[in-house]
Symmetry: C2
Subunit: 454 residues, 2 copies
């Protein structure tokens, strides 16, 4: 391993130039900008590193998935899959960027540009780790696969279909997730789960046109209808009041709880950052961490009705619309929860309210006791000296599709500094973390390869 890690140390220049090439190729999925070109470039970089690339396309209009593969000569029985994405967020507002968003400009320890961290930086550490093995040993310790999609930033609408169609091609024993954070104290966060999501829109459309508000004495107001309906959905502490909502929730395991107790969380810093006085329901300590990792939510993402500009207008609006995202936790099925929501509204006298489902994604959690987690922990400890294990991210990703379709444990770990401004202007990656993470990936491959098949 020493030689392999040494090689990583010596090949920083190659890592940087490949990352710059990737950054300089725009690939904004929201605008379909440079998607095909970037997929081709990723294929070229994989190929140059000794990984056999293949551009897969589900159908016209869907971004291609770049598949990469290296078979292990000495250990063909175990396969590690890296899930990444080559698409990036839009760069707007452009005027807030110091350099061209696609420059790949280096200043000191930082490389700037859209995608430098999310997710081109992550991708490059994994490619370079595999390259190091190939360069130094002519082999890899286990089979390696890459699934690099192009629609992550717009919601991974087709990854499930890709996974189903290429189930055999993508077959593996473990998955390294596309992102991973390094916290303010330079500790990598090993993430074991993602929440699910149910995104819906409720709307009320009566009366037929906007009306003088003096008629509010006899005409029902659609904004009031939504307010009344919303109020039946949850209590002030955030608890959801829809019948059966929590029925299938899988509780934290003992191992999860042990991890949560250990997990650091800077309450004061968080309250200060967001300028808030207290957490929802007055939560403190472990309750805050449990909520982040395991509480379902019912969040109003948007509400609009009537006159919303400066000043006063006495109108009874003809329509009102609310967008709600429900975060789901393991055990909850988005379709089932949607049916419960609809039944709840009907039961409570809100049949006049239309309900539309935008998006459904189930939650996923890998057990802290899975041997693969141990491999990752060992590697992280060795390369960073320290690490944090996070039971579940509070956000949502298509982890359930990977875990479910491929039947493999998924763990997220990566090089993205927590204040890297991902999705924002002046996104950057730290060069020291890119190098450290590349070594960490080498160690993950090594430790995973050495584990026996369960």
């Amino acid at each position: 391993m020493k030689e392999i890690l040494g090689h990583v140390d010596k090949s920083t220049r190659g890592l940087i130039s490949d990352l710059q090439a990737l950054i300089r190729q725009p690939s904004v999925s929201a605008k379909n900008q440079g998607i095909a070109e970037c997929a081709a470039l990723v294929g070229k970089i994989l190929s140059r590193s000794g990984i056999k690339p293949e551009i897969l396309c589900l159908k016209k209009g869907v971004s291609p998935v770049v598949f990469g593969e290296v078979k292990s000569k000495k250990n063909p029985g175990r396969t590690l899959l890296f899930y990444n994405h080559y698409d990036v967020q839009p760069v707007e507002p452009v005027e807030l960027w110091t350099d061209d968003p696609f420059s790949g400009k280096i200043r000191g320890n930082k490389i700037f540009g859209r995608g430098s961290a999310d997710d081109k930086g992550e991708l490059i550490t994994r490619i370079k780790a595999v390259e190091a093995f190939l360069k130094k040993t002519g082999d890899v310790p286990c089979n390696i696969k890459f699934v690099i999609e192009g629609e992550e930033e717009t919601g991974s609408a087709n990854i499930g279909a890709y996974l189903k169609k290429y189930k055999t091609k993508f077959a593996c024993d473990a998955v390294i997730w596309e992102f991973g954070y390094v916290d303010a104290k330079n500790r990598p966060v090993i993430g074991l789960g993602m929440k699910g999501l149910l995104y819906v829109e409720l709307s009320a459309k009566e009366p037929a046109q906007d009306v003088h508000s003096s008629l509010a004495v006899i005409i029902k107001n659609p904004a009031w209808r939504l307010v009344e309906a919303l109020n039946t959905l949850r209590d002030r502490s955030g608890k959801i009041l829809i019948k059966g909502w929590y029925d299938e929730v899988v509780p934290f395991s003992r191992s999860d709880l042990k991890l949560l107790e250990k997990e650091p969380f800077d309450e004061k810093g968080f309250l200060r950052e967001y300028k808030i006085k207290e957490f929802v329901g007055g939560k403190k300590g472990l309750a805050v961490k449990k909520a982040l990792a395991g509480d379902p939510t019912c969040n109003i993402a948007g509400f609009v009705s009537g006159y919303t500009m400066q000043g006063a207008k006495t109108v009874l609006p003809s329509s009102a619309l609310v967008k709600i995202d429900f975060r789901l936790v393991p055990g909850m099925d988005p379709k089932k929860q949607f049916a419960r929501l609809k039944a709840h509204l009907k039961r409570n006298g809100f049949s006049d309210i239309a309900v539309k489902m935008y998006h459904g994604e189930a939650a996923s959690r890998t057990s802290p006791d899975d041997p693969f987690v141990n491999a990752v922990k060992e590697a992280a400890g060795e390369s960073f000296g320290n690490y944090i294990v996070n039971v579940s991210n509070a956000g949502t990703g298509p982890m359930h599709s990977f875990a479910n379709i491929l039947g493999a444990p998924c763990v997220s770990i990566g090089s993205t500094f927590v204040f890297s401004r991902i999705h924002a202007p002046n996104e950057f990656a730290r060069l020291d973390l890119l190098k450290k993470t590349t070594k960490c990936m080498c160690l993950i491959i090594d430790r995973f390869a050495g584990q026996k098949r369960l």
Copy 2:
């Protein structure tokens, strides 16, 4: 009287040409377009009709009030005041007008143009009625005053101050209100009241910036805060739950109730027009009419928070804002009600919600037993053959200021056909109703002048 009414019949041409001149002078208060010019034109028309004009200006930046006066030689002890306005609503959307909005074009029985009905048409009937007396008798049966303001369409922000400053100049025994409807069956509606208004804005502004909605487990959502607060304000039937809200409400008098029972209201036509299934709280019959004339409301005029465009965005918004108009009824003081609202929010744990008052106006009702009402009823019966008496309009106007500061009963009656498209494209006035109403105004002056001072 016969000669006077005959004169009105013969002078239709003068009425039309003066109204056309007024329509052709734009006077959009919302855009400060042509205000001073229109005030001057009104002064000229008054003067030509034998009414002494005076342009009053409270202070710079405030639209002038045109005051007009004719003293009665034979009956100087009684004064009738006409309240009107020379400003008009904006003409937008211009593309929906068949003719130029300021054309005064005549097609058959209709004269088209912004202000043709609201309120230049009403004003001209009153000027022409006074002119008829002066032309035929060289005198008026009682003193006549005109108060013609230029900010009615933007909320009459300064009429109270004008009334206070010119209390002596405007002193009178009765007021004819600026508007009046003629219903689909050609019956003039004699209106005895206007509701009051309290317009407020509630806003919640936490966290400091928009946040990824996964954090909704621990960060309070400002849209939820408003939904929770709103829900404490009223029940589903529309009843306001703020402590003391109804304490000072003056109930309907026996005379009011008698009038309400008689008042026609086409429930089916109304439900059809607005495509609604039922009235608020399932109201029917008398309850609907009582609500229109006498129920306070709490109406959501606007609500906005977060992402409201197409599709899904998982955001926890940093702010939420709701605009509410409360219609008030006689007895309710806008400032007192505002204090009650603030206290209610505080008491219910919503001190984090900011409350701003935009506008306050008290309600006003003239007693159906007031002798002035009889004078108007007699005149309406004689000129139209029939009439309806309406206890209170569901809308708001500065009637309370007139009734309170001048101490005079206010009654609304006029020439505006109920489907005249006021505030909308292709506004028009009916020539037959303008003539009939001018005669009705002559009869009102005559009957009022003949009544003894109370």
